[in-house]
């Protein structure tokens, strides 16, 4: 690992890319803490909620690297971009014109990317307006005595909206720049950064609340989780595949490199996000439907069993949902029939198994078997932090950076990026490192 970094820095080309990425990262962090014009910095600092009181905003705040609750110029974060790409993706199903573009290769894809950018801007305007509306009405910072946005005139509001929208545009650009000229996938890297940026802050909270001994235990524990996640993430089942389309001359190759890999965690982090979002819903609904003061039985039950993350019922539901979504997600994204069909078309087969239906059935069998441990692993990683809730105080802790979602995302992005550096090294650094 260290040798990889060393040789990466020794390769001028790669060093340039890494430095470029770091430069963007620095600019990005500066932007994330630069207050938007018209925002009272002191008021915002005074009103920073304690961990656990953020409620619904915590996920958004996590994804914006804390910029949201700072009301900084990057408050809107990259969420508008993520939403826009999902929407454009979905529109390719509905709008024939989009479907056509999608099929037209690079040129069409470029056009779709352009549309995604426009939509991002539109969504950013909406989100920025929403953020400001919440902030001025005091909805964002509970029990805040001061006005975070002192001047709520139309002009001033428009200026903030404009700034935040521009912030999102700049972020989008930064992400693309990293993808294009830096290392790794820019957007993923920015998300990674946002989550990682919270680590020191949360660490400090634990340290000041619980003292050094607990802090040390947590650190060891977190390292253990991360390394086991890294371990499992790289686990895969390799199904041997043979291609019998060519009459190979002198020798056949052992087939060490021709295999179909199925990851233990084939579904990635998506099931966890689905499950946790679903668990937020009851809380959100009850807040919307009933006034703050009223306490119905529904609300009480929800608060007791579903919203309270340290309750066993909550943990059990969460775990079950993750397992369900893992199977569900894999069943939509890994179409065994299509895979078997493709292999058949290109002359491939699994030795001992006939192509077509039998191959599909075999893949289905293997996939189902591997998904069980995979989903249990996901569930465990996701619920583990719930047992340590008391460490950072009460309440919603799911999105605390050592939580399941965050660790899974961070490890995923980090592995990808390291792999990319490695592969670039392999391509570039022929002499020295590789020989």
């Amino acid at each position: 690992m260290l040798s990889v970094i060393r040789s990466a820095l020794a390769t001028p080309d790669l060093r340039k890319k890494i430095l470029f990425t770091l430069m963007i990262v620095v600019l990005y962090r500066v932007g994330a803490v630069t207050p938007a014009p018209g925002v009272s910095y002191e008021a915002v600092q005074a009103c920073q909620p304690d961990q656990g009181e953020q409620g619904v905003f915590s996920l958004l705040n996590l994804f914006s690297g804390g910029a949201l609750l700072q009301l900084s110029i990057f408050s809107t974060g990259i969420m508008p971009y993520i939403t826009a790409s999902i929407i454009v993706q979905l529109l390719t199903v509905v709008i024939p014109r989009f479907e056509e573009l999608k099929k037209e290769g690079q040129a069409g894809q470029n056009k779709l990317t352009q549309y995604t950018r426009y939509l991002t801007i539109a969504l950013a305007v909406l989100q920025a307006t929403g953020v400001i509306a919440l902030a001025t009405r005091g909805g964002m910072f509970a029990n805040c005595p001061q006005d975070v946005i002192p001047d709520s005139s139309v002009g001033s509001t428009a200026l903030i909206v404009l700034t935040m929208t521009a912030g999102t545009a700049v972020m989008m650009w930064m992400g693309e720049l990293i993808t294009e000229r830096g290392i790794g996938n820019g957007m993923s890297l920015l998300i990674f950064l946002n989550i990682a940026a919270r680590i020191p802050i949360e660490g400090e909270i634990i340290l000041s609340n619980q003292g050094g001994a607990v802090f040390a235990v947590v650190c060891v524990f977190v390292l253990a989780i991360i390394s086991s996640v890294v371990f499992v993430e790289q686990g895969q089942r390799r199904i041997p595949v043979q291609y019998a389309k060519r009459m190979v001359g002198r020798r056949m190759y052992g087939g060490t490199s021709t295999y179909l890999p199925i990851k233990v965690n084939q579904a990635g982090v998506i099931p966890v996000i689905f499950a946790s979002s679903l668990l937020y819903l009851p809380d959100l609904i009850s807040r919307l439907v009933t006034p703050e003061t009223e306490t119905s039985w529904f609300k009480r039950v929800m608060a007791e069993y579903v919203t309270n993350q340290s309750n066993w019922v909550h943990i059990a539901i969460y775990f079950a949902l993750i397992i369900f979504f893992t199977y569900f997600y894999i069943s939509i994204t890994f179409n065994v029939d299509d895979r078997a069909e493709d292999m058949k078309k290109y002359g491939g087969f699994i030795p001992g198994i006939r192509p077509g239906r039998p191959t599909a059935e075999y893949l289905h069998f293997v996939l189902n078997r591997i998904t069980l441990p995979g989903s249990i692993y996901l569930g465990i990683v996701a619920i583990l932090p719930n047992f340590f809730l008391d460490l950072t105080g009460e309440g919603n802790n799911q999105n605390f950076p050592f939580g399941g979602t965050a660790v899974l995302i961070m490890v995923g992005v980090a592995l990808d990026t390291v792999k990319q550096i490695e592969s670039q090294l392999m391509q570039r650094n022929y002499e020295g490192f590789l020989r």
Binding site: V93, Y253, G347
Partner: protein, 786 residues
């Protein structure tokens, strides 16, 4: 001239128009300013005798060599070149042509309308480079054009004191070497590429034919750099007699489509159905095709099935002189010395009941990118560059500059006529030819393949219309056929081969001015395309045969919703396209759909290109690394030194050989043996990579990046090559014995290349997760619509 003196307002207008219409191109405005100065020098140059002209051109050779040209040098080159062209060919280069020359001299790809005299432009630019001490290769798209252009331009080069040569497949070793040692060498991209490959495999420095060249001027740049670049040039050498499985071929011949095997709509793959597999297994004596042991037989079945179901005589290949000859799809010509890989060639030969040829083994390969990238300076010219400007920038870092036509194009391009079925389309084409022919207007029909050209010719003859067919079968008569295609009343049915570099003169090549005037009166050449090509550039190239140099002309394309283009590009034809009684569909959606299908194909082809490039970049790097070592072996005594220094038994054996054969011979033997092993290991390495490449896309299922995994597999394998080669060298010397004053090393010696082939694999045929989910949704929506 007119260009340089246009008023400012108009110039601004031009700049704006350029930005809007051709966003990817650069401006040559600063070179336009030189045109008046070139003209000023004209009288002075005209007064020179031939010898004085040559001498004056020779003066350009003086001075420090540099990579760029000063304005003074540009002016001088253009002025002398224009005069040389006038004297030698009777063609005084137009201003726009000189602008093209300057565009080439400054390393651009220039877009010039067809018929604007690109050949002369290329020749003048080549002389310009040559006069500054550079060695130039003019790379053309085929052998015919390379030879024609070199011969045609020779007098111009001679007047300028520049030597010129050309290469083509039939030339001898000596002729090639002479050609490459000229200042300017013309050659087809494949020919130059193969010479590079052959030079890489020599065992003696003396055997090399090429001399290091500095500049590549690429004619028909889009075709060479984009279309041809999709597949690498691969050189193969024969290993042993082919062992095509005749038993399997016989069995496969009995299989029935649909029941026993299926093919995909774009005709790239064929596979057995379960029923077909059991039939084959039973016929082969009850084996299991799908276990480890059966896989060799399965490969034979698959190859035979491919030959049987997917390759059609007269479309993909023709049988001529008892041999199967491939047809290059993008040119419509016979691809000389080209074969299918991996036993497919033999399977086709068995299918046609011809004697099987030798089996080949890939010795080395190079991509067009790597080939072109090896020249320090690259420039290009074509009639259709703007459409691929992005690609040229991405892959070659070349900028496109657009040269305005000398005379405005007045060709009338009519709207496509679209039909519901191939038969109604064919009827309409025949009717259209009949109608236009009745006026006496010459017609050029561009078809998709040999079979179609012949079918159409047959139909025309039945309708009482006499026509000339130009296709891969009679490409030798190409020049004569094209020469007469512009005559009054001529009907020429051609494949794509009439698409590039051929100049159709109205009234025929030797026509009198009256004959020409008569054809002009009739509206010039009328071009009919029988189907849209897989790229709009190819369409434009065909259209470009008419309306050259301000001649009148017309073009029209016919298309049907069952054309191959539509079937493979966009099989979901929109509803509600109702044909009229003749099967013609006038609804604009039909045209839109066909345009869409064409864009899909363009996108897919670009993707193939990009993939070839990405995968071969690593291979090229490994190759150049290995070649460095090979060069050392070739030019020094590394091999012998290694054997001597070796503490193993080999050193004793080597000393033995030295004693018996003498120092010199022993060193040579060591060198040759090591070179042989290096070449063979490289060939094995390529085979290994091809094998890995075939299945690497599966890695995407495990969320890995196929290209990275490819590298991961390829690199450790590569690093074994040199140590293994040395080991084998030692082994050879241990085992070989001295017989009759020679070291008897069986199988030593580089096998001469005998054939070439191509391979194509998609990177990731799977979609991303999101894509998969969307597909499901799409499927559900479709069902609902029902």
């Amino acid at each position: 001239m007119a260009l340089a003196r246009t008023p400012v307002t108009k110039r601004i207008g031009q700049v704006l128009r350029r930005l809007i219409e051709r966003p990817a191109s650069v401006s040559l405005a600063k070179y336009e300013k030189l045109l008046p100065q070139i003209e000023q020098r004209e009288d002075e140059v005209r007064a020179l005798s031939d010898d004085e002209l040559t001498a004056r051109a020779g003066k350009l050779r003086d001075g420090e060599p540099s990579d760029s040209f000063s304005n003074e040098q540009l002016i001088e080159i253009c002025a002398l070149g224009r005069e040389a062209g006038r004297r030698a060919l009777g063609e005084r280069a137009f201003d726009v042509q000189l602008l093209g020359v300057m565009g080439l001299l400054t390393g651009h790809v220039v877009e010039m309308a067809t018929g604007e005299g690109k050949t002369l432009v290329g020749a003048l630019a080549a002389s310009g480079y040559a006069l500054r001490g550079k060695r130039v290769h003019v790379i053309s798209v085929n052998d015919y054009l390379a030879r024609r252009d070199a011969e045609w331009m020779r007098p111009v080069f001679e007047l300028l004191g520049v030597t010129v040569g050309w290469v083509e497949p039939s030339r001898t070793h000596e002729e090639r070497r002479n050609a490459y040692h000229c200042d300017v060498t013309y050659g087809a991209v494949s020919e130059i590429g193969f010479d590079v490959l052959r030079d890489r495999l020599v065992t003696d420095v003396e055997q090399r034919v090429m001399a290091k060249a500095d500049v590549a001027i690429v004619d028909e740049a889009d075709s060479v750099l984009v279309d041809e670049a999709r597949v690498p040039l691969v050189m193969a050498g024969s290993v042993d007699a082919n062992d095509a499985d005749e038993e399997v071929a016989k069995i496969v011949r009995r299989l029935r489509p649909g029941l026993h095997y299926e093919t995909d709509p774009d005709g790239r793959n064929a596979w057995l159905t379960p029923a077909g597999a059991s039939v084959v297994e039973k016929a082969l004596g009850g084996i299991n095709l799908y276990d480890e042991e059966g896989s060799e037989r399965l490969a034979a079945v698959n190859v035979a099935l491919h030959a049987h179901a997917l390759l059609t005589r007269d479309v993909d290949y023709i049988v001529r002189d008892g041999k199967v000859q491939l047809i290059n799809a993008s040119r419509g010509r016979v691809a000389e010395l080209q074969r299918w890989p991996d036993g497919l060639q033999a399977a086709v030969e068995v299918k046609e009941q011809l004697p099987p040829s030798d089996r080949g083994e890939v010795l080395d390969s190079i991509t067009v990118q790597a080939l072109v990238g090896s020249y320090p300076t690259v420039a290009g010219m074509t009639g259709t560059a703007v459409a691929v400007a992005e690609t040229l920038r991405e892959f070659y870092r070349l900028e496109v500059a657009v040269i305005p036509p000398n005379a405005p194009v007045v060709r009338v391009d009519e709207d496509d006529r679209i039909f519901d079925s191939p038969s109604s389309k064919l009827r309409a084409i025949v009717a259209e030819i009949k109608r236009v022919h009745a006026e006496g207007r010459p017609i050029l029909v561009g078809t998709q393949d040999v079979a179609e050209s012949e079918e159409l010719a047959e139909k025309l003859r039945k309708a009482g219309l006499e026509c000339t067919v130009l296709n891969a079968r009679n490409d030798a008569e190409e020049a004569e056929i094209i020469a007469e295609a512009g005559k009054k009343g001529a009907i020429t049915v051609s494949t794509q081969m009439a698409g590039r570099g051929t100049d159709i003169k109205l009234g025929g090549s030797n026509g009198t001015p009256e004959e020409r005037a008569e054809v002009v009166e009739l509206g010039g050449l009328y071009v009919i395309g029988t189907a849209r090509y897989p790229s709009s550039r190819l369409d434009d190239q065909l259209r470009g045969r008419a309306g050259r140099q301000g001649d009148p002309g017309g073009s029209i394309f016919f298309a049907s919703l069952n054309d191959d283009l539509v079937v493979s590009g966009a099989p979901d034809v929109p509803d509600g396209l109702v044909p009229d009684d003749d099967g013609e569909i006038s609804h604009p959606a039909a045209k839109r759909h066909i345009d869409h299908a064409q864009r899909v194909m363009e996108g897919a082809n670009l993707e193939i290109h990009r993939n070839t490039w990405r995968y071969t970049r690593l291979i090229e790097r490994q190759r150049s690394d290995l070649l460095e070592f090979r060069e050392k072996v070739l030019t020094t005594d590394v091999a012998a030194e290694y054997l001597q220094s070796e503490e193993s038994e080999a050193s004793k054996h080597y000393d033995d050989v030295v004693e018996k054969l003498g120092e010199d011979k022993a060193r040579r033997m060591a060198r040759e043996v090591l070179l042989f092993h290096l070449d063979q290991l490289w060939s094995d390495h390529l085979a290994f990579l091809a094998d890995v490449r075939e299945s690497i896309h599966l890695r995407a299922l495990g969320k890995e990046t196929p290209i990275d995994e490819f590298h991961r597999a390829a690199i450790p394998e590569y690093h074994k090559i040199i140590p293994t080669a040395k080991e084998r060298l030692a082994e050879t010397f241990q085992d070989a014995e001295v017989v009759d004053g020679e070291l008897d090393v069986a199988a030593v010696g580089v096998r001469r290349p005998t054939s070439t082939w191509t391979y194509l694999v998609h990177d990731n045929p799977f979609d991303s997760d999101a894509e998969q989910a969307l597909k499901k949704v799409r499927g559900l929506l479709r069902k609902k619509r029902w």
